[in-house]
């Protein structure tokens, strides 16, 4: 085991990711190194390279923050205008939640971090739901391809099971997140039952449905036969069929088995 190498990399990660560790490092690099099990020679090297090691902190903070404002424009704007964006990002980075080898995973990781920590949600109770919806668009637009399996029927018969596109998402929010706009990003409080998917033109589509239709689609996604799914939540079969046909035409449903 390369113990010294591992200790050096862990010390560097502390400096790069944790604000309080960076302050300790700036105050006394040798003591910072010593507290992390490094010897005096390594501490002396860190002292000599103090300013340039700090350049890496800027680079890492920038790398981990960069994709977020584009993916979460409304969340970003709300927090930026409140002077809270930097604190949010620093807390996110310090959590070390970013673990995936794929850079694109920073965006969904940010949503998971908001869910796990509840950060900012005492002041902005809609924050998690807004961020979730903002990230969803990118997730749906770039989700893996899922060609229809062979042998699916095009007719939604009552006993059949619907086969949905892998990009289809059935969601229930307590805030009208889909109505956030650049000029007014704060969502209003209110139920929003949304069915989101990538359509045949490969564009992001959001269909707002009533609570019964949302429950029907949830059961369909679970693999319940169509007529059972409809009757179980009190949706008329003709209405259910029309909804299925619309989603099928748009590409959210691949067919029926």
């Amino acid at each position: 085991m390369a113990e010294r190498l591992l200790a050096l990399e862990k010390a560097m990660a502390d400096l790069l990711l944790d604000a309080s560790s960076a302050e300790d490092f700036q105050a006394d690099p040798a003591a910072f190194a010593s507290r992390r099990g490094l010897d005096a020679a390594d501490g002396d090297a860190m002292r000599r390279h103090r300013q340039r090691l700090l350049v890496y902190r800027e680079l890492v903070q920038s790398a981990l923050e960069d994709p977020l404002p584009d993916c979460f424009p409304h969340t970003h704007r709300i927090l930026e205008e409140a002077g809270a964006w930097r604190d949010c990002i620093q807390a996110f980075i310090a959590s070390r939640s970013v673990q995936s080898a794929y850079y694109r995973d920073i965006n969904p990781t940010f949503v998971v971090w908001l869910a796990d920590t509840g950060w900012g949600q005492d002041r902005w109770p809609f924050l998690l739901q807004l961020a979730h919806y903002e990230q969803l668009e990118l997730e749906v637009l770039s989700g893996p391809e899922d060609p229809a399996p062979a042998g699916l029927s095009a007719e939604p018969l009552p006993h059949a099971v619907a086969r949905f596109s892998g990009t289809a998402r059935n969601l229930a929010y307590g805030w009208r997140v889909q109505e956030s706009r650049a000029e007014d990003p704060l969502p209003a409080e209110g139920a929003a039952h949304l069915f989101c998917y990538r359509d045949r033109n490969l564009e992001f589509e959001t269909l707002e449905v009533d609570p019964h239709s949302s429950a029907f689609l949830a059961r369909c996604l679970e693999g319940v036969p169509l007529a059972d799914a409809a009757s179980g939540v009190g949706v008329d079969w003709a209405e259910a069929r029309n909804l299925l046909l619309r989603l099928q035409e748009d590409g959210a449903i691949l067919g029926y088995s």
């Binding site: 390369a2 010294r4 190498l5 591992l6 050096l8 990399e9 862990k10 560097m12 990660a13 790069l16 990711l17 490094l38 020679a41 390594d42 002396d44 090297a45 860190m46 390279h49 300013q51 340039r52 090691l53 350049v55 890496y56 680079l59 890492v60 790398a63 981990l64 070390r96 970013v98 673990q99 995936s100 080898a101 794929y102 850079y103 694109r104 920073i106 637009l141 770039s142 989700g143 893996p144 391809e145 899922d146 990009t167 990538r198 490969l202 564009e203």
Partner: protein, 287 residues
Amino acid sequence: MAIESFQGVGVGLRRPHLSEVAALERAPVPFWEIAPENVVGQGGKRHRKAMAILERDPVITHGLSMSLGGFDEWEAEVLDNLRAFLKATNSPWHSEHLCWTSVGGANTHELLPMPFTREAVRHTVERAKRLQGELPVPFLFENVSYYAELGRAEMSEKEFLAEVLEGADCGWLLDINNVYVNSRNHGFDPKEWLAGLPLHRVRQMHIAGHWWDEADGLIIDTHGADVIDPVIELFEWILPRIGRPLPVLLERDNNIPPLADLLAERERLQAAYDRALAPVLAGGQHG
């Protein structure tokens, strides 16, 4: 795709250019370079355009996140995706940086400096050999820009690089801009530095622009500007010493210009490449 077909100056395939490139009948460059991490496991409009280009044109892959100097294990899914992508694109090899990017599971998505120690050489060589065993194509190491030494050095960067390349017995992706950046940031002669290294291991080159921070005199390897003349001069100096045609990648990851401007920059570098290798190809000697 025969390795001999990968010659001249290629360009990184970038998102803003996908529609324009996909609409062309054939590649406007000898090859594209792409990071598999940015493509695998995706779908949708942009992905379809990227895959259509990668199926049509020659491709070389370049990785960003294997953290060969680190300790974190590679996820099976990441390796599976990488292997499948290398096979699908017929990349002649796959390169990664001589650095680390993650520790204790936390990924920084930044190329972090290796300590120049014997322990780090042994560790990195072992990881490189392990990765090579997982890949269907040869593996290359790229020399990186570094701004600070991490811990007490037991050797120079040059010795570190040479020992890793020899120990791992792998090819070298020579980033000529990184050599220039390091020579300016750490005060050495880049030609002297290059002369003592195993040039027979060079399979590919990178060339790029950078950013000079006047405030503290530090050059940062941004890939966000045109290549400067001193880097092109160094490029023309080293090519005949390598002594054979090879693929050279113009890197542009920030401030990405319109495709036409990027291709004009590529032409400028291709002219330098042709000029530098003309005596070699004519059977002459380099000076």
